[in-house]
């Protein structure tokens, strides 16, 4: 089903409610390989939102862009680039990590998955740039949340709740984003051969200084090369990038050699981050969100021979390709205050292991109660994220 208007979305949700059907919300489908395979297809209809298309309003000097949820992200990115602006959290098109072709990601999918790129380490995540939305909840009601100005605390911050909700609360029909000026200049630098603890330390020192790096990643050995590669990005006006580079050199130049990367090399690295093509194709991929300082020891404990990993956000985000026992990994990650999302795996593993790290009991109950307020009948409960007791 591919509704062409918000009203049609409303009608279809109401119809699903009346006929006791379930709906799988889909944007471009670039992330549909995430989550448990849907075995109950006979009771699920796919609601594809790409028919809601087009930029509704974009005023660059207000830093606000309103767009229908099914619009391709690439199209919005082009409109932003024309005005030399960006979505600062730097969403990456990750379709290739799941064996799909890039270019299909929609704005609605971007918001519903809430996944940010490298600049998140300083610029905040997707949720920090969603100002408002229109949506149809599982109650068959159209509602709005947030507003269309950059500063707003009126009522509950529903845009935060909808961001990263993976289609479990409501069908987004329109979103309003906060956009920012794109940097005039970007330069990428690398350090070679650092071990993980040293890389974390080095990145932490840079991030804690006035250097103001806007990306801080570490590709483990055996990923982009035999040696590890620690990557930093400086952005801004030309004069400030020059000043920041000087500061960077003063901070770590004495101990480590700083290699300036060419634009092509930088593009290649960002491509590898988006596609994870530097991780072995035959192992499940885990996305670990952890306190940055825990990344090196955690990876050392969990990665076996032949496993590969890289980390972003100074260590706070780890990508691990490994056959590690899911239970064990989740226990280790939880013990250091993090969580592990199963990103890519074969159908059998995805059927057995819940995609999202299960929540502690009290919190799980609370989350479930919130979800049921938006979707009491379970219209959007396709069991994609179940992997256990709940059908959501």
């Amino acid at each position: 089903m591919r509704p062409g208007s918000e009203n049609e979305v409303l009608e279809l949700v109401r119809e699903a409610m009346a006929r006791s059907r379930r709906l799988e919300l889909r944007g471009g489908g670039s992330k549909r390989q995430i989550g448990a395979p849907l075995d109950n297809v006979d009771e699920i209809d796919v609601l594809e939102l790409t028919g809601l298309h087009g930029i509704v309003d974009y005023d660059p000097s207000e830093l606000v862009l309103t767009v229908r949820a099914g619009t391709l992200w690439a199209e919005v990115e082009r409109a932003l680039a024309t005005e030399r602006q960006m979505l600062a959290c730097e969403p990456l098109d990750v379709a290739a990590t799941l064996g799909d072709a890039a270019g299909r990601m929609t704005v609605g999918g971007l918001v519903a998955s809430g996944l940010s790129g490298p600049r998140r380490v300083v610029a905040g995540s997707v949720r920090d740039h969603v100002l408002g939305f229109r949506a149809v909840s599982g109650r068959g009601e159209l509602f709005v949340g947030g507003g269309k100005v950059v500063k707003n605390v009126t009522g509950y911050d529903l845009p935060k709740l909808l961001t990263g909700s993976w289609g479990r609360l409501a069908a987004l029909t329109e979103v309003t984003l906060k956009v920012l000026p794109a940097p005039e200049v970007a330069r990428v630098f690398a350090l070679k051969g650092l071990d993980a603890p040293l890389a974390w330390q080095c990145l932490a020192r840079v991030l804690g200084s006035s250097v103001g790096a806007t990306a801080a990643m570490h590709f483990g050995p055996g990923t982009v090369g035999a040696e590890s590669l620690t990557v930093l990005r400086l952005e801004g006006f030309a004069a400030s990038v020059a000043a920041r580079l000087q500061a960077l050199q003063a901070l770590i130049g004495a101990r480590h050699e700083l290699h300036a990367l060419s634009e092509a090399e930088a593009v290649g690295l960002w491509g590898s981050l988006a596609s994870l093509d530097v991780l072995p194709p035959d192992r499940p991929i885990w996305r670990l969100s952890v306190p940055a300082r825990q990344a090196p020891s955690l990876l050392a404990r969990c990665a076996a021979v032949g496993d590969r990993w890289l980390f972003d956000w100074g260590g706070a985000l780890c990508w691990l390709a490994s056959d590690v026992d899911p239970e064990r990994l989740r226990t280790e990650v939880a013990a250091v205050g993090g969580h592990a999302m199963l990103w890519r795996a074969d159908a059998a593993l995805r059927r057995r292991v819940p995609t999202f790290h299960p929540l502690p009991a009290g919190l799980g109950t609370l989350e479930d109660r919130v979800r049921r307020q938006f979707d009491p009948l379970g219209v959007f409960a396709t069991a994609r994220f179940a992997g256990g007791a709940h059908a959501h």
Binding site: M17, D59, K148, V153, G155, D157, Q373, P376, A389, A391
Partner: protein, 497 residues
Amino acid sequence: MSVAMPAVDESVLARRAQIVAALRTLVSVDGVIDEVVRMRPYESDALTAYRQLPLVVVLPETTLQVAAVLRWCHANGVRVVPRGAGTSLSGGALPLGDAVLLVLSKFSRILEIDAEDRLAIVQSGVANLAISAAAEPHGLYYAPDPSSQIACSIGGNVAENSGGVHCLKYGLTTHNVLGVRLVTMEGEIVDLGGRAFDSSGLDLLGIVVGSEGLLGVVTEVTVRLLPKPEAVRALLIGFPTVDDAARCVAEVIAAGIIPAGMEMMDRPAIHAAEAFVQAGYPLDAEALLIVEVDGPPAECDELVARIEQLARRNAAQSCRSSTSEAERLRFWAGRKAAFPAVSRIAPDYYCMDGTIPRRRLPEVLQRIRELSQRHGLGVANVFHAGDGNLHPLILYDANQPGQLERAEEFGNDILRLCVEVGGVLTGEHGVGIEKRDLMPEMFSADDLAHQQRVKCAFDPQQLLNPGKVFPVLHRCAELGRVHVHGGAVRFPELPRF
């Protein structure tokens, strides 16, 4: 009082002695205050036109005590109002006559500073500025800086999603909080977020920040710390018209510059401030801009030069850039003293807080002037120009009969105007009781119901801070009813595998 609060539950009042006695068993002996004279200081927050003595004041010291108090109150049907430092400008911490006022002032410890992962874990009663002070030795600070930062608590900041003059570049509280420890009305202790950047599952942290004490009581907060900028410089720019100043602001942003702060004052505010602190403000200007940039010194110099150019292109009459820290602080002195300065030209003032799309600024200011004439009350405007957050200060005299009511009506008209031009009712001060009844200007009944149902998930009995934020207190059972159009419901959610 023009705002109706929920009807007092007489049966609770009748049980007061018993409630006080029960609370005494749950917290330390001196943690319960029930004498009227000692409860007086708590009868209002910074929206002082509204006052109400609480049923009793309780000051727990640990998260477990908070949980015990809430669990007991929940089991016994007693309402609770949380309170931090009581600086809310929207009446969020206004007590209810039949509710326990739960005060977090004993939660005053900084638990940890992690300089390398750049975060601090603090108890919720810690003052905003105290976090930056504790982080200072590490070259770090906590960015959101409400003007009340010496006094207001981080728990209150979380509840109100507070901003400050630097939130244009560094964001509101919500952008700088990594996690909270929350106690629900049912007494359940949950950790939302934490030291990692994001959490598994729905973003409940995101919804708790800015929920004005309606979803739970925050006892601990994990905040992000930032490296202190190497250099900070400010510009002081005078314009012959508000239009010129507004155009300059838009062009600065269109030029790709996001200053750390960008503040505007109109003529009445400039004059009041100058008379009060002699900051050297240009008295011939119709609008004054303070623009602050921070970062490496070379970047600051570059940005100052670019902004000066844009100012001149937009007819600036005067433009000075700070060359020393003392000069920068002098530029700010008038703006920072704007509120007390205004209280010298009128016995009372009422501070509004709407946000508008910036492009509508000249028109909105013109209409505020018209409203000012219509209501017969003066107004001085200071605002966070970069993000369109207006703070009109309505001047009145509470001792003149009818003036407070007129000031409130004037304020409501300003907020309706903000919504009419595409803006919102509040940019940083919160809805509380003050803007509660205006919510339908911005949200439909369905919009509000979707917000209130979140409340129902956290607090089904609606015992926590009732009467705030939402104009009508629907029962959760009523809000929960599902309307199925043309069919019968076959599954009230059966698990499917």
